[in-house]
């Protein structure tokens, strides 16, 4: 799968830009703040129907304008796929595939698999459980359209249940019959999420460990364990047992929305025992393992977006990484760097076919 052409109108700092990409390696260089990350986010947006950074559509619209448009021409399983996103004032956002608008944006997820790696991704290891669930949901949603549907359904019922708990609190009167119905409605999607997550991690864990060995070139063992209250107990029993607590705290305190991933290095908590370098390698491995699993499940190579991954790495490690990317079994890659000549030199030395772009203040120049 590859992105051949991208047309941006009023997308972040791009007023109007048309870009043609290489089917293999695309190197995008430019100083910080010039729009490299925005360009990668535009590609991510075309694949997933939203910004990777959770940026509001209103805030993607370029300053002093009131709409944005994103047009992306892909080639997928030897068929052309054109994706258009339109965000206009006072209108619902439109996402079209080959001129046909989707009824729901979520239906688009999984059509064009994508993996993105950005510097802030180290937060996946260091922050609270929400970012790890997001990683898990992101991967599973791309693999399994049914998973995303279940997740949206679960979250919707959960929101209603939490709103009901809040109302009970405000009126100082609970309606146990209504709560019981929400419990029953949560069961099926909750159990399904748990099963799918558990099955996924069973496959993903070994892939992650394997990737880490290649990336780090070292012998430490890393692992990834799925943590869920539903592993040992039935969801229905958990909800019943937590009912009193839920009524007091006015929110649902147990369920798959509290799941977590436990990352370890050499059998110890990654967050506390990994060095900066190990952490960086871990995150890179996590994302490249995500890539492998997606590639296997989707039977096509996802697009790989690498934002500023060479930052604070010495030249030896950069060389090692680029070799890995070139020799590895990847499809189309987009890679950004702040150093004008660093990546291009290493890539050119390696003899890999590639296209280079230079970005300055929202305008892009292809370098021959």
């Amino acid at each position: 799968m590859q992105l051949n052409r991208l047309i941006l109108t009023n997308f972040k700092n791009y007023e109007f830009e048309q870009l043609n990409f290489h089917s293999g390696l695309n190197c995008i260089v430019g100083m910080n703040g010039m729009g490299k990350t925005n360009l990668l986010d535009a590609i991510y947006y075309a694949c997933m129907g939203k910004s990777y950074f959770g940026i509001n559509d209103r805030d993607i619209v370029r300053h002093e304008t009131d709409f944005f448009r994103l047009e992306a021409h892909f080639e997928r399983l030897e068929k052309a796929e054109s994706i258009v996103v339109k965000v206009m004032p006072r209108k619902k956002k439109v996402l079209e595939r080959n001129d046909l608008p989707y009824a729901k944006i979520s239906e688009h997820v999984g059509l064009l698999p994508v993996v993105i790696i950005v510097p802030d991704d180290t937060l996946i290891a260091t922050e609270g459980s929400e970012v790890r669930r997001r990683f898990l949901d992101n991967t599973l949603s791309q693999i399994d359209q049914q998973y995303l549907k279940t997740l949206l359904k679960y979250n919707h019922i959960l929101k209603q249940r939490n709103a009901a708990l809040k109302q009970f609190g405000e009126h100082r009167k609970a309606d146990p019959a209504l709560l019981k119905i929400y419990n029953d409605q949560l069961l099926e999607p909750g159990e399904t999420l748990h099963q799918k997550r558990a099955a996924f991690i069973a496959e993903f864990g070994p892939e992650l460990a394997k990737t880490y060995l290649i990336i780090s070139g070292e012998k430490e063992k890393v692992s990834c364990k799925y943590q869920s209250a539903l592993t040992d107990q039935k969801f229905g029993d958990l909800l019943s047992a937590a009912q009193e607590k839920d009524l007091i705290l006015q929110r649902t305190t147990i369920g798959p929305h509290r799941d977590d991933l436990n990352f370890q290095i050499q059998g110890r908590a990654l967050k506390r025992f990994a060095s900066q370098g190990q952490l960086k390698s871990f995150i890179l491995s996590l994302k490249l393992a995500q890539y492998s699993v997606l590639k296997m499940k989707k039977k096509m190579a996802p697009i790989l977006l690498l934002d500023d991954i060479f930052d604070k790495l010495d030249n030896e490690r950069i060389k090692h990484l680029i070799q890995l990317l070139i020799k590895g079994d990847f499809g189309q890659i987009f890679i950004t760097d702040t150093h004008k000549d660093r990546v291009s030199e290493i890539v050119t030395q390696s003899g890999a076919d590639n296209q280079q772009f230079f970005i300055e203040s929202g305008t892009v120049q292809s370098i021959q």
């Binding site: 929101k159 209603q160 249940r161 709103a163 809040k166 309606d175 019959a177 119905i181 409605q185």
Partner: protein, 202 residues
């Protein structure tokens, strides 16, 4: 919009305060009224005033009605052993249009959605329970929208009716319905009321 007349401006503002009427449409309506006989506008205004002053909720089914009890509830030819539970009056109109249903109705006034501040107490559920007390009702058809909130409401009401000797059924919901009941075409809706499915709670 820049009006030369305060009167026109006020009328445009009034029309455009209605749902899905923009300023342009409002202006067209206003200019149209000015062009026609004065009586047309008087009748128009009177119809609105009359409506607002005299429209009632049926004391039995909560449908909008000119009298204390609506024409459907009054109609002796209708099957008084069966009640179709719906969200609003537009659902009643859609089902009536199919011509396939001859029973009574009960209008809930919405579905349970705590996010929007609608709990069971905000809906006409207690009055439904009262209607079942004399034992004349044999069946209840739940014709609610195929959403999570519709499901919640069906489950909740069924739970409240547990122990009563009443058959509960739901109309076939989902694919054939364009989201809400009122958009379903007559044929599909009519068919799904005839072929309603017994409600089972597992």
């Amino acid at each position: 919009m820049n009006f030369s007349s305060k009167l026109i401006e006020e009328a445009v503002d009034a029309f455009s305060s209605l749902p899905s009427v923009g300023k342009k449409t409002a202006l067209r309506l206003v200019l149209h009224l000015i062009k026609r006989e004065p009586e047309v506008s008087t009748q128009f205004a009177e119809a609105i005033i009359n409506l607002r002053k005299n429209i009632k909720n049926c004391q039995i089914c909560h449908n909008f009605s000119d009298e204390e009890v609506c024409v459907i509830c009054k109609d002796k030819r209708r099957d008084r052993s069966i009640i179709c539970v719906v969200e609003g009056i537009r659902d009643v109109m859609a089902i009536e249009d199919t011509g396939h249903y001859k029973g009574l109705y009960h209008i809930l006034g919405g579905v349970i959605s705590p996010i929007e501040g609608v709990g069971p107490n905000e809906l006409n559920i207690t009055t439904l329970q009262h209607r079942l007390e004399d034992g004349q009702i044999r069946e209840i058809i739940m014709a609610l929208s195929p959403t999570i909130e519709g499901d919640t409401t069906i489950f909740y009401i069924s739970k409240q009716l547990e122990g009563l000797d009443i058959k509960i059924s739901t109309i076939a919901r989902g694919v054939s319905f364009g989201g809400e009941l009122e958009y379903a075409d007559e044929l599909t809706l009519g068919r799904s009321i005839i072929s309603r499915i017994p409600y089972r709670r597992d």
